[in-house]
């Protein structure tokens, strides 16, 4: 069986970032915690492959270490969204029109009603700013997104005949949700997951930008973008590099998501 092109491409891009992250734990070209002011704002060279920032830190090392924060925040935040939101959505759909459905969906509306930044500020006001709190804030906002998408998609699957057939076999809502509903809405969840992942990276960048995410000296792509703002006219490279990293990471994941969706669907698989 031939693998879909976009899956291979996406997986390759994602693998490059994963390797860079793994490598950053044992080796980086330079130490990112040491400031070498004398070397600040240098262009790419043999010593600094991608140049240095305004504190003279090596950009490549910063990107490698920063990827840890950005990717960890995004993965955990999407994980929270899927882990909590999808079961809630499935429960809602299984009890459509019932009390539980109302409670879950109105709870969702409640979370939707607050801008994520406000909640993030609230959390940091209580617990202090850190990457962990950024994860929490972003994760909480992923829950209603996944709950809604899951509920909507599940509702349309619930009306199909094979669900009725499963019910005549005495299967209960939980079993039907896991066995019949989830696999048939998985493609939507994968697509939504990759979108939320990209949004997660951007949200972390946003929170770090206003100082509510990862704290210095821990680098993150978002912080790097925020710091580059002052130098955008002097040295746009500082903004481009983390920007390109974010774009490539998101592109890789989206391609992989699309590819996975096609691979998991026996109907599409045949047509290749």
């Amino acid at each position: 069986m031939r693998l879909p092109v976009q899956l291979v491409l996406g997986a390759a891009l994602t693998a490059i970032f994963a390797l860079a992250v793994a490598l950053s734990f044992i080796w980086t070209p330079h130490d990112v915690t040491i400031l070498t002011i004398a070397d600040k704002l240098q262009g790419p060279s043999g010593k600094y492959w991608l140049g240095t920032d305004h504190f003279g830190r090596d950009m490549l090392s910063m990107l490698m270490v920063g990827a840890r924060t950005s990717i960890a925040v995004a993965i955990v935040a999407v994980g929270i969204g899927i882990g909590v939101g999808v079961p809630l959505g499935l429960m809602s759909a299984a009890n459509r029109g019932g009390l539980l459905d109302e409670v879950i969906m109105r709870g969702n509306d409640l979370i939707f009603a607050f801008p994520s930044l406000v909640i993030a500020i609230l959390i940091t006001a209580v617990f202090g700013p850190s990457a962990l709190n950024a994860i929490l804030a972003i994760g909480i906002f992923n829950i209603p997104v996944f709950a809604r998408v899951t509920r909507g998609a599940a509702l349309s699957v619930w009306t199909l005949d094979y669900i009725l057939a499963a019910r005549t076999c005495g299967k209960r809502a939980l079993r039907i949700s896991i066995e019949h509903i989830l696999p048939n809405i998985a493609n939507l969840l994968i697509v939504q997951g990759t979108i939320q992942f990209s949004l997660g990276i951007l949200a972390e960048a946003g929170l770090s930008y206003v100082g509510l995410g990862a704290q210095p000296p821990t680098p993150s792509w978002g912080r790097m973008l925020a710091d580059a703002q002052t130098y955008i006219y002097n040295d746009p490279r500082l903004a481009f590099l983390p920007g390109i990293a974010i774009v490539m990471m998101v592109l890789g994941l989206n391609l992989m998501g699309d590819g996975l969706r096609d691979l998991l669907d026996p109907r599409i698989r045949r047509e290749r």
């Binding site: 094979y162 009725l164 057939a165 299967k171 066995e179 019949h180 696999p183 109907r267």
Partner: protein, 529 residues
Amino acid sequence: MISFQNLTLAIHGTPILNDISFELGQGQIFGLVGESGSGKSMTALALMQLLPSGSLVGGHVEVDGADVLAMSEPELCTLRGNDIGMIFQEPMTALNPVQTIGDQVAETMLIHGTATKSEAAVIARKMLDRVGLPADKFPSSRYPHELSGGQRQRVCIAMAIALRPKLLIADEPTTALDVTTQAQILELLRELVAEENMSLLLITHDLAVVAGMADHVAVMRNGALVEQGPTEQLFKTMSHPYTKQLFEASSHQPNRTGDPQEIPILEIKNAVREYAAPRRKLFHRFAPFRAVNDVSFTLMRGESLGLVGESGCGKSTLTRAILGLDPLQGGEIHLSGEPVLAGEHMPASLRQKVQIVFQDPYGSFNPRHKVQRLVMEPFHLTKVPENPREHVANALETVGLPSDAMDRYIHEFSGGQRQRIAIARALVLHPELIVLDEAVSALDVSIRAQILDLLADLQTRLGLSYLFISHDLTVVRAITDRVLVMQAGQIVEQGPTEKVFTTPSHPYTQQLLDAAPQIPDDWQETKHA
């Protein structure tokens, strides 16, 4: 007026149509008959030049002497709607749900620039009146969701004839409708053709519809015309074996040797099923809607009982109650002596005794599972046996499928094969009663005949009881011993099938029988002679 000359069509190199030639005169009704995949819709789309991408067309299609295939896109746009109107099978999705019916009918005229906005509204109103939607009952400001299927199809017809086209193409216009509605829509089409001097290209799978409507008939198979001629002559001679085969399949009588016993398997007493009506005012509850109203009947072991009624009469609601999926609000259901309770209260040993086969062979299976897992699903009620593959193979063999089918996905099977798999799934636990909910309605006539034979054979071999739910009277007549006629939640007539069909006592039954399209008797007799 319209002529097809040696039309050929290939899509991405696959031949679809082969040497199609026929002519259609003004004021004529031309019936194009064939089973699904025979290319009848593609023929119509070739005339409109609305073919899918990758199409390669050959031959000539002429409308009033102008070759459609040589026309530019702007010329074609004038042709479509102006000279040729089209109506589709599914009135539920053919209308835009957020536009009023008046606007939708007027739109065609605005697009073609034949009228100003206010003129178009006036003409649209006239057209709606013309198709039997009078202004006092159906103002132009109505939205599609406020109309029934038949009324929506009337709106579609109004849209198609708004510009007074010379040709109307109707692609299975009544397949999704009830028999009585079908009769009304066909009557309307016939009138329009006579009064507006239009031509009608009627595409259908139903020989009986064509027999009552068309002046000329062409029979299609695998992208080629096998036979064509004036309707009466074609039906009387049936020179091509395929036409004969189609005809025989459509009135197929399976060989039934069942022997109903006097032991009741399913007893329903005064069943009532109500739905809460939607709340229209905040503090005012409306009386609940009674979908099934005081229904009682008994089904004997080994018997095949038909349940006939139009959409919305409560057939499906009753089915769900019999299967123990929804609770009753009154009365009771007993299955081989034990009470049927809804949801988890129903013991697995009882659920095992009744299984169901659905109408839509495409929606009845989880597309992500292989056939083995699909057929094994009912084993949830018992323990999964030690040799599940053997059980599945047996069930598949019973319905006439090879055992290696179990390692394939459902999308690899045709509609008829899927319906066999659905029957295999119903049989795997050896139930006593099988509910067949429109189980053959979505199938082509020849496939339908095969499935009916299979059902009759299974009943003889396994002593099954059937509750056969259908809107199709011919099928019910062919396969059932007794029949129930349901209208608005109530059983209005019941009795032995032949008796109900030959001497109906209730006016509703009479109405149903009259509405069903039929091939005139004297046409058929000539054929048998």
